[in-house]
Amino acid sequence: MEKDYSVILDALPEDGARPKVLFRQAGDGFLQVEYGEVPRFNLIDSFRVLTVNSAIKSKKIKGLYETVPALRTNLYHFDPLELPVEKLIAEIKEVEESLTDVENIVFESRLITLPIAFEDSETKKAVEKYVKEIRPNAPNVINGYNLEYVALCNGVTVDEVKKLVCGTEWYNSGNGFWPGGGFFWPLDPRCAIVVPKYNPPRTWTPEGAVGIGGPCLYIYPTPTGGGYQLLGRTIPIFQFSQKHPLFKDSPTFFKAGDRVRFYEVSEEEILSIYKHVHEETDYEYAIKTGKFVVKDWLSFYNSEEVQKGVKELLAKQEAGSKVAPRV
């Protein structure tokens, strides 16, 4: 059989604020909708994904099981015997064409403040295990950990990495990977550190580990595998037993659209909070409800001061990428 490797089933052209929309084949029961032909890291795409996603969900399309939004893509899971992919694409196109104005979106967004202990002993164990069992001499492990490698890639010091991590609010484009984990992106582009992922990935990461891969930050909800460079450890974000009041309604914590801000603490403090979440169940999470106004963020993002800072970081990263070893 002549093999046809093209996977773009359909597309919508770029139109004003809307980037080109690509409908990609992802197996016989999934469709990936991608925004923009050239991959870019721009949160405006995520605001669009989440807005279209809500509209699609309210249509209650027969045969559509679920959607999985991410930064610049949305994955549609459907029963092709009940809902032909062409029909699904037509439904999505209809929503896309009715949405013209992303700049005026305002959505619910909680601000969650979380403590982080950098280079704690648990995540260090995960790196040790990786070097011992999977990749000895991994170039992303320097002095037994990933922090120095992250610094090297970005042309900054380890202290500066910590400041960048704690210096921005991180926006959740949607949950995934493992139960309840959010995919977080820096809202202040001056803090957008970028690193390659593990090659190959780890087989174990402790609960609450904070990692970064590409420009995306992830908190591991339960002990699992993973491919992000490890920074340290924060407090529980998942509790299956649902003993703590925060988890009363669901074992997971994060919602798409949430924001997280980190502050540095000692490992002892983190460990004590684990006890107060999982055993004594009396830890109080710092959560502020609020709204995210896209227009306000855009004027911050595009301001001269922020853009100047972005250029400075990019210059450091370019220098860093020349000296950091490839994984």
Binding site: Q25, G27, A70, L71, G176, F177, K197, P200, G213, T224
Partner: protein
């Protein structure tokens, strides 16, 4: 009721298609690895094909029945015995209170056996499914694999036990096992020409990949890609320096073939729902059961190119296979 005497290597309660609708919260569907073997085991004992059964990976599971009922064993031949007498596979068997069932280990072909029980396994339904998610430690029997001392309850049989006894699966409906598992697949979402070279896609659709020892219920790791110009990009751009890196996207699981660095990893049952590696192809739904029989460290998989139409046809055939028509 069933009293577990030996948990074996990895024995879990699974149904099919598992926990559907929670991917956007990072919760994979889980579900039986080999849903054909589970489905046929269920048909034999009068259950709907997706009812929960016992999935035995590797072997060495032993248990004692606390009631009279009808059971079935399907999947790989682990030389099961009842009170030390061999019992046939793909057949409904009457068991009595006090009978002891024992499984040896996986044999010549295949890795997982399924034990079906009339009425199914009665564990709590969590988010719409009885399936165990080992990596999230939820679902099934206390979110974990079975161990000695566990007591499983059965559901109410749907049919009269006498009418079930002696039921068999038609010879032509018993799946063929192999040591090189051919999985039909569709290219995408990250394919040629933007992510992978044509040479790279040809390689994926022709090479026989050895299944690595480190494979588990969330991912079947395959041998690394070597000796070819696989990636169409020199790096992952803003997503990272390796060309397998992409800005995090949802994985079409089960069935997506993830390329992590140079390692192809088939994401299945308990797998990750979202991540930052590209996915070059997806195994079609109707063929995914085969991977559950692939033996880590010994068997191979080969991806066979197919079209969307082939996949639709195969879905229809699978529906037929998991129906009463498969009973002799």
């Amino acid at each position: 009721m069933l009293l577990v005497k030996k948990g074996g290597i990895e024995t879990v309660i699974e149904d099919w298609p598992g926990r559907i609708g929670y991917l956007d919260n990072g919760m994979a569907a889980s579900g039986a690895f080999d849903y054909v073997a589970l489905g046929l085991a269920n048909l034999l004992v009068g259950n709907p094909p997706g009812e929960a059964g016992i999935e035995i990976a590797g072997g060495y599971f032993e248990a004692e029945f606390g009631v009279d009922t009808v059971i079935s064993v399907t999947g790989t031949d682990m030389k099961p015995t009842l009170n030390d007498q061999p019992i046939p596979l793909w057949e409904a068997i009457r068991v009595s209170k006090g009978d002891v069932i024992k499984f040896s280990h996986f044999g010549e072909f295949g890795f997982r056996a399924y034990l079906g029980v009339a009425g199914g396994i009665d564990v709590p339904v969590y988010l719409g499914s009885k399936s165990t998610c080992l990596f999230g430690s939820y679902g099934g029997y206390e979110g974990r694999k079975l161990q000695a001392g566990d007591v499983l309850n059965f559901g109410k049989p749907q049919e009269d036990l006498k009418s079930l006894e002696g039921r068999k699966i038609k010879k032509e409906a018993v799946p063929e096992y192999s040591r090189v598992w051919e999985l039909r697949a569709l290219p995408g979402p990250n394919s040629c020409p933007d992510y992978v070279t044509k040479e790279g896609m040809d390689y994926l659709f022709s090479h026989e990949f050895k299944i690595q020892h480190s494979s588990n219920r969330s991912a079947y790791r395959l041998e690394a890609i070597k000796g070819i110009n696989f990636f169409a990009r020199k790096d992952g751009g803003v997503a990272g320096s390796h060309p397998s890196n992409v800005l995090d996207h949802a994985y079409a699981i089960p069935g997506a073939l993830n390329i992590c660095g140079d390692t192809p990893i088939l994401l299945i049952a308990d797998g990750p729902t979202l991540g930052g590696y590209l996915c070059a192809l997806s195994v079609i739904m109707a063929d995914l059961w085969k991977i559950g029989q692939g033996i880590p460290g010994r068997d191979y998989v080969r991806f066979v190119y197919c079209t969307r139409d082939d996949a639709m046809k195969a879905r229809g055939e699978l529906k037929e296979l998991l129906s009463e028509k498969s009973l002799a």
